[in-house]
Every structure is written in structure tokens, then in C-alpha cells.
């Protein structure tokens, strides 16, 4: 019998922290089950011998695509800030992200 993969609640919570997602207890339980099922399914890849196989990260074999280093048109400051909820003197205004305590 194959051992079924089962993520622990702690693992799910740890991954959520890495991904900066706040999950409810219900979501943690649901993901624990659903992610385990998907991880169990992908175990099938263990059947494939890949010892001498190079990984493929891109498919069209392009290399070193460069352009002349010349400045072109860019967005105006007003445009760049147009989606921001809060701005301050032409900059993004955000909540403090580091605590001093």
C-alpha cells in the first residue's frame, strides 16, 4: 500500500505565513485536505527516471535578449500614482510595516 500524503495543520499554517495569506480555521482544514490530495496525485512523477535529464525552464531557447540602453518614454508620476488609495507629496502613502518594539 502506498502511503497517502497528508499535510499537517502546522504545515498548512506555515505555508500560509510564507505566502502572506490570513486563513480561517475552516480554510486551513479545507486546504489541508485538498492540497494533500493534489500532492498525492503528483507523486506519480516519482515513477519517471530523471537522473540524466536537464530541467526545462523555458521552451523557445532564446538567449541573452538585449536592447540598446537608451531611455524611452515612461509613465508620468501622476499616472503611476493613479491607482493608489493614499498618496503624500507625489509618493505612495502606506501603513507602517516595521514595528519598533
Amino acid at each position: 500500500m502506498k502511503n497517502k500524503i497528508k499535510l499537517t495543520t502546522e504545515e498548512v499554517k506555515h505555508v500560509a505565513k510564507l505566502a502572506n495569506l490570513d486563513l480561517t480555521d475552516q480554510e486551513v482544514n479545507q486546504f489541508q485536505e485538498q492540497l494533500s490530495e493534489v500532492l498525492d496525485y503528483v507523486e506519480i512523477l516519482k515513477e519517471v527516471s530523471t537522473d540524466k535529464v536537464e530541467p526545462t525552464s523555458q521552451v523557445t531557447s532564446l538567449e541573452n535578449v538585449l536592447r540598446e540602453d537608451e531611455p524611452g518614454d515612461s509613465l508620468s508620476q501622476k499616472d503611476v500614482l493613479s491607482g493608489a488609495k493614499k498618496t503624500h507629496e507625489g509618493r505612495f502613502q502606506i501603513k507602517r510595516i516595521l514595528n519598533n518594539d
Binding site: 499535510l7 504545515e11 498548512v12 505555508v15 500560509a16 510564507l18 505566502a19 502572506n20 495569506l21 490570513d22 486563513l23 480554510e27 486546504f31 485538498q34 492540497l35 490530495e37 493534489v38 500532492l39 496525485y41 503528483v42 506519480i44 512523477l45 516519482k46 515513477e47 519517471v48 530523471t50 535529464v53 536537464e54 530541467p55 526545462t56 525552464s57 523555458q58 521552451v59 523557445t60 532564446l62 535578449v65 536592447r67 509613465l75 499616472d79 503611476v80 493613479s82 491607482g83 493608489a84 488609495k85 505612495f92 502606506i94
Partner: protein, 462 residues
């Protein structure tokens, strides 16, 4: 005849002969959207004012003379709501971007506009293009226009449904694992996923960057050829779009099938495939034989590992791409992600995390090499492959929403093209049990011209 029922080619001819105006076509499309969209939910945003204004401008241009360089002058189309459109809300189907208004156009949108196309609006999709049914949209599911109890397929659900229900003459889509081909098959329209990099991805909100491919939907093969010619080609904003010449796809459609070798990969016809779909694909193979092509059985031995490799690499890239949405500069914060986006972020974060990277991500990338090699070898023997698009007929709304793995299995015949970066075309193959079904043609990288030629011959003989 209502003008919204025209194909692009018919509309172009009629406009040139001054049988009707761009304004009239646009008004008929907007009328159809007004009457049918509340039921189908294909459009998230309809640009009535802008579309009418653009139509009037096009008519002015046409009254002077039709410039052949503007291949889409006066043609109303729809844009999947994952393509950035300057000044028009772009949501990616997610509440995170519910009020996001881009300050620039995606390269494809820019090219379509320059070709004279009129943008009717933005179409519904599974949020962030994550889904096979259209049900993952944060703004409600799109319904299948053929039968509204059924899903239209996803993720480009609204684009396929709006073309099938004659709300737009054509539409754009993006395909990361089947998101153009599956809804095209489920709605009965033509859906083209080009080679990776053939069309610039710039300004299309990223899902899984090594798979994301930009393409289109049309009512007939020629319309997708016209659109591809406009959209394809290198772009200074996307280094993965190679500087290769763009063939004149619509002009070169006419080519006999004599001497053509079409392969049937046996792994795509094994267990799990609906017997009625299988029977229909075999009929299509016979019709190609009648037209002079040689059909032979071939093998792609690593097919059974494709979906597993895809569902490791894709969520990994998704988790990385969606990491940028922090709500600080635009959009809402991460609590606004829907369940499927969260699921994929979680899965991808896990498979990329310390201690698991080699076992999952690296392993999947190696298997990807083997899948690509299978295709390289098979295309030494045959010109094209003929396969089903989906293992099943369209399914009912709600049928698979509680079981993500079952939903993922809908992509089993489409993800392979994204893993290998090859082009795929979904072509309507008629009705089975009152629902539409399509067949898929796959070819070597940059063989779009051949796919379109073969599909065009099939269509002509119907």
C-alpha cells in the same frame, strides 16, 4: 440578418462595399449584449460610449478609403479582462483588482486598436485565469450559451461565450493550460493558442509566465488567422517574443491536405475519454483521410505525467506572480483573493519552499523536458497531431466545484502544449448530446500556419 452575426471576413467585405456601417455592426453587438448578457454574464464591463465613438471614427475613415493596413477597421471585438486596457477597468476576474484602471494598454490591445478594431468591453474569466469552467470568477460564473445549465469552459469563459452567442465578432484570450482551447470546445467556436512567445505577453496580467500564451477566438478559422496576424510579432516589452517573421496567415489558408501526415497519439484516446467524444474525433480523422491526408497512430509516452508536472510548475509560478499583490500601490489587499487563487498560491508556495523544491519543482521541470522531447520526436514522423480537447463533454454548473482535482483533470489534453510551448487549435466538431465538442490540432513550434490551413480545409468541407 443581424450584423452581430457576421464573421470578421463578412464584415470587412460589407464595410468595403458600403452595405452597412461600422456603427450599425457595433449597435447590433451592443443590442445583443444588452439583451443576452444578463443571462450569460460574458461581459464584466461594456464600453458603450467608447465603442460607439470608435465606430463613428472608423466610419469616417472608411468613407475616405479602406486602408488595407488596418486589418480590423470597424470590427467590434471583446477583450478578456486580464488584458490591460488604458482607462478601462481591468479586474482579472478578481476582487483584488475590482477597481483597477490601467494607465497603459497591453501590446496586443495596442495592436488591435491600431488595426482599427472597436473594443466592446471586457469579458468574464476565472479569477486570475485559474480555472477550467468559468466558475472561479469573483463576479459570478459565465453560462454556456448552448445550454445555460452548463459551464462554458475556462478560463476565457466570457470571451468564448460572447463569440458563441454573437455578442462580439471575435475576442482575445489567454491560454496557460487550455484556457482558450477548452472554452472554445465547450462553446462551439474556434480557439487558437499560438506558440509560446509568438504573441507578446506585455500588459496581460501574469499567471504562470513560462506557460502564458496570448491568442484569440473566432466564429471561423479565417477570423483567428486575421487576428493572429495583427497580434503576432516581437515586442521590445517582452523578451520572450522572438524576432521571427509573421506569415500572412489569412492569405495563405488555401492548401491541399494531400501528402499531409496527421498523428493520433494513442495516449490521448485511452481510458478516461468519453466514448462519444472519442467516436467524434475518429470521424474527424476519417474526414481528413478522405481529403488526402495520411492518418497514423503515434505515441507520446510521457503523456500520463503531463498533468502532474503542470500542476506543480503552474502553481509555483502563480505563487510567485501573485506575490506582488499587496494592495499598497493599487488594488485591494491579499484578503480579497478567492478560494482558487489562495489554493494555488498555497500549493505553489509549498512546492517552492525550502526542502521541497528539488522533490517537486525541479523534478517537474525535468519531466517537462521529457514531454517536450516526446513532441520533438513525434514531429519528425508526422506534421500535426489530432486529439480531443477535453476528456468529457461540457459539464453542469456546480458539478466539479467541490473537487479541485477532478476540475484539474479537465486540462489533461491541453496542458501538454503549454509544457512544450507548441501551438494548439480547437475547432468545432459539431454537437454530441446537444452539447458542442471540439477537436484539437497540435503542431511543432511556430507551425500556426499549418494548423490554420488544415482546420480551414476541414471547415470548408462541412
Amino acid at each position: 440578418m443581424q450584423l452581430n452575426q457576421l464573421t470578421i471576413s463578412q464584415a470587412k467585405e460589407g464595410l468595403k462595399a458600403k452595405k452597412f456601417s461600422a456603427l450599425e455592426i457595433t449597435q447590433d453587438c451592443l443590442g445583443k449584449i444588452k439583451s443576452d448578457n444578463p443571462k450569460i454574464n460574458a461581459f464584466l464591463t461594456v464600453c458603450v460610449k467608447e465603442a460607439l465613438l470608435q465606430a463613428k471614427k472608423a466610419d469616417k475613415q472608411i468613407s475616405k478609403n479602406i486602408d488595407d493596413k488596418q486589418a480590423l477597421l470597424g470590427i467590434p471585438i471583446a477583450i478578456k479582462d486580464i488584458f490591460c486596457t488604458q482607462g478601462i477597468k481591468t479586474t482579472a476576474g478578481s476582487k483584488v483588482l475590482a477597481d483597477y484602471v490601467p494607465v497603459y494598454d497591453a501590446t496586443t490591445v495596442k495592436r488591435l486598436k491600431e488595426a482599427g478594431a472597436i473594443i466592446l468591453g471586457k469579458t468574464n474569466l476565472d479569477a486570475w485565469a485559474h480555472g477550467s469552467s468559468g466558475e472561479n470568477s469573483d463576479f459570478g460564473p459565465t453560462k454556456n450559451p448552448v445550454n445555460q445549465d452548463y459551464v462554458p469552459g475556462g478560463s476565457s469563459s466570457g470571451s468564448a461565450a460572447c463569440v458563441a452567442s454573437q455578442m462580439a465578432l471575435a475576442a482575445t484570450g489567454s491560454d496557460t493550460g487550455g484556457s482558450i482551447r477548452l472554452p472554445a470546445s465547450f462553446c462551439g467556436v474556434v480557439g487558437l493558442k499560438p506558440t509560446y512567445g509568438r504573441v507578446s505577453r506585455y500588459g496581460v496580467i501574469s499567471m504562470a509566465s513560462s506557460f502564458d500564451t496570448i491568442g484569440c477566438f473566432g466564429k471561423e478559422v479565417k477570423d483567428t488567422a486575421i487576428l493572429l496576424k495583427v497580434m503576432a510579432g516581437s515586442d521590445g516589452f517582452d523578451a520572450t517574443a522572438p524576432d521571427l517573421p509573421v506569415p500572412d496567415y489569412p492569405k495563405n489558408l488555401e492548401k491541399s491536405l494531400k501528402g499531409l501526415k496527421i498523428g493520433l497519439p494513442q495516449e490521448y484516446f485511452s481510458q478516461g475519454l468519453d466514448s462519444k467524444v472519442k467516436e467524434r474525433i475518429n470521424q474527424i480523422a476519417k474526414s481528413f483521410e478522405k481529403q488526402g491526408a495520411q492518418v497514423i497512430e503515434v505515441s507520446l509516452p510521457h503523456t500520463k505525467y503531463a498533468l502532474a508536472a503542470y500542476y506543480i510548475i503552474q502553481p509555483s509560478e502563480v505563487s510567485s506572480n501573485l506575490a506582488r499583490y499587496d494592495g499598497l500601490r493599487f488594488g485591494a489587499d491579499r484578503s480579497f483573493f478567492g478560494p482558487e487563487a489562495k489554493r494555488r498560491i498555497m500549493l505553489g508556495t509549498y512546492t517552492l519552499s525550502s526542502g521541497y523544491y528539488d522533490a517537486y519543482y525541479l523534478k517537474a521541470m525535468k519531466v517537462r523536458t521529457l514531454i517536450k522531447k516526446d513532441f520533438d520526436e513525434v514531429f519528425q514522423k508526422v506534421d500535426l497531431l489530432l486529439t480531443p480537447v477535453s476528456p468529457t463533454l461540457p459539464f453542469k454548473i456546480g458539478e466539479k466545484t467541490q473537487d479541485p482535482l477532478q476540475m484539474y483533470l479537465s486540462d489533461i489534453y491541453t496542458v501538454t502544449a503549454n509544457l512544450a510551448g507548441i501551438p494548439g487549435l480547437s475547432v468545432p466538431a459539431g454537437l454530441v448530446d446537444g452539447l458542442t465538442v471540439g477537436f484539437q490540432l497540435l503542431g511543432p513550434q511556430f507551425a500556426e500556419e499549418k494548423l490554420l490551413q488544415v482546420a480551414y480545409q476541414y471547415e470548408k468541407n462541412q
